[in-house]
């Protein structure tokens, strides 16, 4: 591949993914300025590592892997809360976990499915982001990559350098934590009725 070809493929790939890179970076760092720095640094590092991109159709997972590695090496220290320290990668292999919706929480189901509740309104958008930001990073990242960015479990495993089975169990755990965070945020008026 000539430099000109590489540059053209690289530029197109970056431009195509810039919103996705920024969205993931924002939820990882939780700060606009840090997210922008993370994306810019990722792009610079990725160009420097263009020789490690073996197949052009793997561009997206390759680019996000660099984003994730850059976050870990240069940004994580600033964004990790003390309560997240207890979640190590080895602690989420519990395959028996089911999410709140699936563990027959009828109160939750009734509350959530009530059309008058306007659960899916603008306010919830903020609640949802707050709940997402509460999830420890190991689970948040997997939920973001799979549910928001549409990566497959295999691609997510490639991005994070973990086994696909771990992606699967982290998705379950991440969903459970997200739903519990939303459940905890429900308005006080709703709590009195359940």
């Amino acid at each position: 591949m000539t430099v000109s070809n590489a540059k053209s493929i690289f530029s197109a790939g970056v431009e195509e993914n810039i919103d996705a890179l920024y969205s993931v970076a924002l939820r990882l760092t939780r700060r606009d300025a840090d997210a922008e720095d993370l994306v810019a640094e990722t792009v610079a590092k990725a160009w420097g590592a263009i020789g490690t991109l073996n197949e052009c159709d793997r561009f997206r997972p390759w680019l996000f892997r660099i984003l994730h590695n850059t976050f870990i090496s240069d940004f994580r220290k600033k964004s990790v809360r003390p309560d997240e320290a207890s979640y190590s990668a080895g602690e989420c292999e519990d395959d028996d976990l089911v999410t709140l919706l699936n563990e027959q929480s009828d109160d939750f189901l009734v509350w959530w499915s009530n059309p008058e509740r306007e659960f899916f309104n603008d306010l919830l958008g903020e609640q949802l982001l707050a709940a997402l930001d509460e999830i420890p990073e190991a689970f948040r990242t997997v939920v973001l990559l799979v549910s928001v960015e549409g990566f497959t479990y295999d691609e997510t495993a490639e991005v994070l350098g973990i086994a696909p089975g771990t992606v699967r169990s982290r998705m379950k755990r991440g969903r459970t934590l997200l739903q519990k965070a939303l459940w905890a945020q429900r308005p006080a008026a709703d709590r009195n009725t359940t």
Partner: protein, 84 residues
């Protein structure tokens, strides 16, 4: 041919189905057959799907103009060393 599966078996496949990771056509058909007959599982998966969709729309942000310009400038200068 579709097999009748119970809720426990359906729950096993629940998230793989939701995330498009249930690959075998037979498994997909069995799962969807179960959803057609089980209101509880159908409701749960619809709510999970709505939450996913809502999360996708909420967490996906447009990158700021300043960032696009910053990255654009980086891209412009990449390869300069090799060319020059």
């Amino acid at each position: 041919m579709k097999n009748d599966i119970g809720c426990l078996e359906a729950i096993e496949a629940f998230y793989a189905y939701l995330d498009g990771e249930l690959e075998e056509p037979g498994s997909i058909a069995d799962f969807e057959h179960h959803l057609e007959h089980c209101r509880s599982c159908f409701t749960r998966i619809e709510l999970e799907r709505m939450l996913n969709e809502r999360m996708r729309r909420t967490a996906r942000k447009e990158s700021p103009q300043a960032l696009r310009e910053r990255v654009g400038q980086l891209l412009q200068h990449f390869g300069d060393d090799s060319n020059g």
